[in-house]
């Protein structure tokens, strides 16, 4: 006898929506066991991890501040992913957005014009799009895998930023340390809630969620992209231009990642540093999938991911747990989600090892 995974004729749509919820509940249960095994009171541990970080206005502001780039990038990536365009290089596009915006801020260093920030936002989006245009061109012209090219360009982008802050854009008063001057008021997003660090870039992220929803679910172009992703042949038969889908998917993702880069350098960082993102471009890929490539799901997933980061810090301070706890919870969440997906798309069957077993002796499953 052996276990076999069989493809389901029709995966349940309801279950598709409930899976993230299952994954969250399973993560909580596993977390409960984990905390108990570590000798911590699980109730107190859960409080410290999930409630304490957002106990006051400042905590909520920090949660939204951290979730903001994640949702912004993820919603852009989702547009491409729906059309089977796999942009893995959002981190690099974010970096280019930061470089372009930072270049504007440094060029107009002494300007008090209210146009500096809008110019930075436009420049950042263009920077991200230009970086995403490279894999789009390579894919449409030479059929190069955009997964590889977009990922490799991340390292190029980070080195480019590193060159700039070590060299031409280094702060002349900075004792030769690799960082630019600190931006002036006119090159920074205004604060949304005084006393916290939540700034106006968050509004841009929320707007992106709304626009993303309209584009993906209500526009013809969004429909074309979905069809291209789900049924390539049908899309071609209907006369949808596959190249256009690739360009669109990558450029939208590049633009949102670039905007997220602006949000960081014109927000809580306020200058250019050798590294402007703790991996938001990669974390956003997880957010996009946990959010089921749907803008509302992405909004919720980005808040959850953000809470996991803050909770990990609180768990270190309050419970003496190592920093690996954050990664552990993120990993569990993704593991349970992918696990649920397996059971949505396949069913587990017991197969008697009789005659056919002789033909396929090594338990070859699907």
């Amino acid at each position: 006898m052996q276990l076999k995974l069989e493809t389901r004729a029709e995966p349940s749509r309801l279950m598709g929506w409930l899976a993230p919820l299952f994954a969250a509940v399973l993560t909580l249960i596993a977390g409960f066991i984990l905390f108990s095994a570590l000798g911590r009171n699980p109730v107190q541990a859960f409080y410290t991890f999930f409630v304490y970080p957002i106990r006051d206005l400042n905590g909520v502001a920090e949660l939204l501040l951290k979730a903001s780039p994640l949702m912004l990038i993820a919603v852009g990536l989702a547009c491409g992913y729906r059309a089977n365009v796999w942009n893995i290089g959002a981190e690099g596009q974010l970096t280019l957005g930061a470089i372009f915006a930072g270049g504007v801020a440094l060029y107009f260093y002494n300007s008090e014009s209210p146009l500096v920030l809008p110019l930075m936002i436009v420049a950042g989006a263009i920077g991200g799009m230009l970086w995403a245009a490279i894999p789009a061109f390579l894919r449409t012209r030479f059929n190069t895998s955009e997964i590889l090219t977009s990922l490799m360009l991340v390292y190029v982008a980070v080195l480019l930023l590193s060159y700039l802050v070590h060299g031409p854009w280094r702060d002349p008063q900075g004792f030769n340390f690799p960082q630019s001057r600190q931006f002036t008021e006119s090159a920074l997003y205004p604060m949304l809630i005084s006393g916290t660090r939540l700034n106006a870039s968050f509004l841009l992220s929320i707007a992106a969620i709304a626009v993303g929803y309209l584009f993906l679910n209500r526009s013809f172009l969004g429909f074309q992209m979905r069809v291209a992703g789900q049924a390539d042949a049908a899309a071609r038969y209907a006369g949808f231009d596959a190249r256009r889908m690739v360009w669109l998917g990558l450029l939208i993702g590049g633009a949102t990642a670039g905007l997220a880069g602006v949000g960081e350098v014109a927000g809580p960082i306020g200058q250019l540093l050798p590294s402007v993102s703790p991996g938001y471009g990669f974390a956003a890929i997880i957010v996009a999938f946990v959010g089921r490539l749907h803008p509302v799901g992405i909004l919720l997933a980005s808040l959850l991911m953000s809470l996991l980061y803050l909770g990990g810090e609180a768990a270190q301070m309050g419970l003496n747990l190592p920093s690996a706890i954050t990664g552990l919870f993120q990993g569990m969440l993704l593991f349970f989600l992918l696990g649920s997906d397996v059971f949505i798309n396949y069913q587990l069957k017991l197969v008697r090892a009789s005659a056919p077993a002789a033909v396929a002796p090594l338990g070859a499953t699907s």
Partner: protein
């Protein structure tokens, strides 16, 4: 109902509460000082953060009962750091050590919001009323390792794996080179930049490349033990950095420049406890016990060990400064006239290679 019993209960309760509050009174006055540490990488078992954590433990042991320490590790430089530092201050931590250069601006920002908390920032240059800075003269240890390297090399080529060309790293490369050439004028140093403080794969690759270019002594200014391990595998010599890494290269590691923060952390914390803290601006070296050489490998001959010991003594006594003129950069330009020693202001902005280092640096 028995009223007498109730009165007795009430009395007992009242007494108990009174006693309890009495007991709580003095205890509250002596509540331990909460001290927070922010680390840029996981603690692990060797490296920059590991040494800071050793210092934290030493301090906690020395001031047992008077302090309570907590740390948050693996905090990226940038916005996340500001949140963690702020969180410490908001939770009643009266002393916070921020142990990476990139925490400088976040530390200053949070310090403005919490004027009653003392912040100590490592390796930066901005201070405030409640922000002190501290750093160690790593280059003193580097010089001594260089002397050993100059005596032990057969190929006269040393390999140096380094992260970023900032002054602190250049001081190390240059001091190592000067130490090496003080005993071996033919020696040269080759540098490979990894552009990352912690990337074991790239560090190992860089080490192997340097070995294939003829280097038979290696050292590194990165956070992992990969370079020492690579030297061990290839049968070359190496000098550890941050921590004693001899368990990763028992044959390869000749010695290491180790960082010792414990005594300093204890001293600052005592000052804050006593309310006498008035600001810190420390750049300590061998003299202050902040830099120590790891035990020297038995492969190093006795006369070399003695030479290093005497130079170590001279540096500690202020008789020997690694950066003493005449000093030329590797383009031939004189940087220091004969007999002069380099001031701290010049050291702090170092942006050149000394003669003997191969290659050029990115220009501004």
């Amino acid at each position: 109902m028995n009223t007498q019993r109730i009165t007795r209960w009430a009395f007992a309760l009242a007494v108990g509460t009174a006693l309890g509050s009495l007991a709580a009174g003095p205890a509250a006055a002596q509540a331990p000082l909460k001290v927070g540490f922010v680390y840029v990488s996981p603690i692990g078992d060797a490296g920059w953060t590991f040494q800071h954590d050793q210092g934290r433990k030493e301090m906690e042991k020395a001031l047992a009962g008077k302090v309570e320490t907590k740390y948050v590790e693996n905090v990226p430089e940038g916005p996340d750091a500001e949140r963690v530092i702020r969180e410490f201050a908001a939770n009643g931590y009266k002393l916070v050590f921020t142990t990476s250069f990139g925490y400088m601006n976040p530390t200053i920002k949070v310090a403005q919001q919490f004027p009653n908390t003392v912040f100590l920032h490592a390796t930066g240059y901005k201070t405030a009323k409640n922000v002190g800075i501290y750093n160690a003269r790593f280059y003193e240890g580097r010089y001594l390792c260089g002397v050993m390297a100059g005596k032990m090399t057969k190929s006269n080529v040393a390999g140096y794996v380094a992260a970023f060309p900032i002054p602190e790293v250049l001081q190390g490369i240059n001091a190592f080179t000067l130490g090496m050439r003080s005993v071996n004028p033919k020696a040269e140093v080759r540098v490979i930049w990894t552009n990352s403080w912690y990337d074991p794969g790239r560090e190992r690759e860089a080490a192997n490349t340097l070995i294939s270019q003829g280097a038979d002594v290696l050292t590194h200014h990165t956070d992992s033990t990969a370079v020492v391990q690579a030297a061990e595998e290839k049968g070359k010599y190496a000098f550890g950095y941050h921590s004693d890494m001899s368990k990763y290269g028992p044959k390869a590691e000749l010695s290491a420049t180790t960082h010792q923060w414990g005594a300093f952390y204890t001293k600052v914390t005592q000052e804050v406890l006593a309310g006498t803290w008035k600001g810190t601006n420390v750049w300590g070296g061998i003299k202050d016990g902040m830099i120590k050489l790891a035990p020297i490998n038995a492969a190093v001959p006795k006369d070399v060990v003695e030479l290093v010991a005497s130079k170590e003594k001279d540096i500690g006594a202020g008789k020997l400064h690694p950066f003493t003129g005449p000093l030329k950069d590797n383009a031939g330009k004189e940087r220091l006239a004969a007999g002069q020693t380099m001031g701290d202001d010049k050291l702090a902005v170092m942006d050149f290679y000394v003669e003997g280092v191969q290659g050029t640096l990115p220009k501004q």
